[in-house]
Symmetry: C3
Subunit: 161 residues, 3 copies
């Protein structure tokens, strides 16, 4: 329920979700860690594992250092086909807890991937479950979990979701 | 046009649309009827039929009883492959009528389906045309019509749209 | 950043984006030019061309006259398979410039196409980059660029994006 979230806060949260997606889609990945608090949790996990409480993740980072490492690896170490993501976000539902200091958000996403051959295909669909807090005035992800339905991932997941 | 809809009401309507989608996608189907007024209209119809005024629907319910029956059938009678829906909603355009007591909304949707083999595919795209009223303080669908473009439905439609 | 955009203006911009999409999806194409200022820029360009500064566009119009011509051609001259578009819009991020008189918006889109055979497929994904101004009280696109990822377009692009 969004009932206890003011329109101003709702717009600010939506702006965080939206600029996060644009950061990745515009290949501005060096800025990706800045969307998270210094100590954080970013994970990408299959829905089936999530539902039975298995912690296995295909991506897992718990600090800015680990987030930065992932981008460094992507830019310099990983060998992969040129590819573009396009995030489509939908229906964020949010509520606050901890006297309004924490915002809990669930939203749906679909990510399309376009590779060399030029066709755009459904790459990954699922939902984000987020814990958002304010740090130095700006909203940041304290936790962002991408829980995906698509359990056949045809290629190595290099770019974060 | 959204011109005569206040920002507060717009947010409340969006919350109804969003929680409806999450209810289905999270497989919380027993709560699905609660999004409708007791006497209601829920129908899923092909665009071509809608445009020529043919009433044929692939799903049709006009009361809580019928909505509940559908979920009971789905849980206990229908035999079908495990499948997940993921709703992506977009561009709701709304206006009020009946001295503000009725809200008319049109929005686009795309639903992705993931079955056992793990791939997520475009299952059904179309638009919702909704008539929303307030009942005991909460917004409910008096009418929800899902009018779909995708006229080749490859498998039995079991889960509501 | 949406920081300098009021909630009222944000809702008004979203309404412009949303009614634009419905205009096309509802096949109300004769009204499509009315979303633009008289002197305008509408272009559809591949991402690769955009990134290296090449101006080549698959659609390009700079006046109401040219926009109208395109619809006339589509209705009367072009021969193409019956097809429906369905726009899914996502994450608009906006800011104002020129003392609040100009609104700059970037958003993501995915367009699904349904042809005779009835299947809905991912037709084109990308982003809109818009310059919006107020003309006679109403918001209009002064510039709308659709920059698409999908560089293999399997059929002639007839209907505007």
């Amino acid at each position: 329920m969004s009932n206890n979230v003011s329109l101003e806060l709702k717009a600010e949260v939506e702006n965080l979700l939206n600029t996060y997606a644009q950061c990745i889609d515009d290949d501005d990945l060096e800025n990706w860690p800045s969307f998270f608090t210094e100590k954080c949790l970013y994970q990408v996990i299959p829905r089936e594992n999530h539902e039975i409480g298995l912690p296995t993740a295909v991506m897992w980072c718990d600090s800015h250092g680990m987030l930065n490492d992932r981008i460094t690896a992507l830019r310099h170490a990983n060998v992969y086909q040129v590819q573009w993501y396009r995030h489509i976000l939908s229906n964020p539902v949010m509520s606050t807890s901890d006297n309004g200091k924490t915002i809990n958000v669930q939203s749906n996403y679909a990510i399309f991937k376009t590779c060399n051959e030029g066709e755009s295909t459904v790459y990954n669909v699922g939902r984000y479950i987020d814990v958002i807090v304010r740090e130095k005035g700006a909203l940041k992800f304290k936790e962002r979990s991408a829980i995906y339905d698509t359990h056949r991932i045809t290629t190595l997941m290099v770019i974060p979701i």
